[in-house]
Amino acid sequence: MILIVNLNDEEFAYDEFILPIKRIVGKCDVKHYKEVKNVKKYDKIILSGTSLIEKRYLDHDFSWIKEFEGKILGICAGMQVIAMIHDCKLKKCTEIGMYNIKVFTPNKLESEDFEAYCLHNYAVEPNDKFDELFGTKKCTQGIKLKGKEVYGVLFHPEVRNQSIINWFKES
């Protein structure tokens, strides 16, 4: 069973940032990040992206993610959360629209350079706990936690790269 964690505090963002993922995933649970307590019944978790005005999730304690044994895919804000709980810093980096993404490290998500839809004001500076999978000229676009099936992508795969979410769902 997959859990989608909604990182938006603004209720109106649900239709734009949660429903498109839910339509790809199909049967799943959705919980707001402040309501997540017991995640043992799930084998996969997707941390959603947010609208550009959202910042409150940055102050929340997500340490439970470190204990989760299953697969995780963080999208945009979700990637930031994964990186921060592993001691990475954020840096200002605004990218809005379609961008060319380069593959830096062979990985299971995308094998060749591709285009993706970006919507962020902050990127992460990955430390040595992560493999850097993708990037644009300005910032890191994809990371994998070494030794675990924990991924983060800064772009929004639910918009133009649904195959990544399908891979995550079926793998």
Partner: protein, 224 residues
């Protein structure tokens, strides 16, 4: 949160307004009147009818005329949104974007610059389902512009109903690859009535402008 809706008078922006009003305080409509009938960014057929629609809905309408030159029209959109912030204290913008990254990106950039929320309640909706939902919710929508073969003047002025949706879906699955919602600019629509309209718009007179590869249904309307 006080919101302004980018309003074209077409089905998507009207339905986005309908969804926004379910949960939020929509305080104004914003329409961009483009003098360029080929605008990539803005809907043009019957854009003047937004005055009547705003009266029918009971919301103030803030209009901004643009020459419709690429990128300059975005500056005009920014001016319109800034005016809405000053006059109506809006904190966010709602759009009817479904698939168009081109349009969504440009509005997102303006909102980000101005520190406003940008919400797209129809984003990535299945186009067939969305069209059926709009009809099921009793929106009265007509085709007011056709811009892609095999859509021609015979479609103009017709109400989008279940039969028309089936025809549009057939075209979308056939060799023409028409988007059933007109997302690729294949057609434009005008909403004459919706559940939140206090009065229906009636067509008093109309003119069909039939060109070789496109056609527009210009309406002179009134409130019933």
């Amino acid at each position: 949160m006080k919101l302004g809706v980018l309003f074209t008078g077409g089905k998507d922006s009207c339905y986005a307004l309908y969804k926004a009003r379910e949960k939020h305080d929509v305080v104004c409509l914003i329409s961009i009147i483009s003098e360029n009938k080929e605008s990539f960014m803005f809907h043009t057929p019957n854009i003047e009818i937004t005055d009547l629609q705003a009266k029918a809905i009971g919301l103030p309408l803030l209009k901004q005329v643009t020459k419709g030159e690429k990128e300059k029209e975005l500056k005009d959109l920014e001016i319109a949104i800034e005016n809405a912030v000053k006059k109506y204290k809006i904190e966010g913008i709602v759009t009817g974007a479904v698939e168009s990254v081109y349009q969504a990106t440009r509005v997102q950039k303006i909102c980000n610059k101005l520190g406003l929320g940008c919400f797209n309640p129809l984003w990535k909706r299945n186009q067939e389902e969305l069209l059926k939902e709009i009809v099921d919710e009793k929106f009265k929508v007509i085709i007011s512009g056709v811009f892609a073969y095999p859509l021609d003047f015979q479609w103009l002025g017709k109400v989008i109903d279940k039969d028309m949706i089936e025809r549009l879906i057939d075209l979308s699955h056939g060799k023409y690859e028409i988007s059933p919602t007109g997302e690729g600019g294949e057609y434009e629509s005008t909403v004459l009535d919706a559940p939140f309209f206090k009065k229906e718009i009636e067509i008093i007179d109309f003119e069909i402008v039939d060109m070789i590869d496109s056609g527009v249904y210009n309406i002179k309307g009134g409130l019933k």
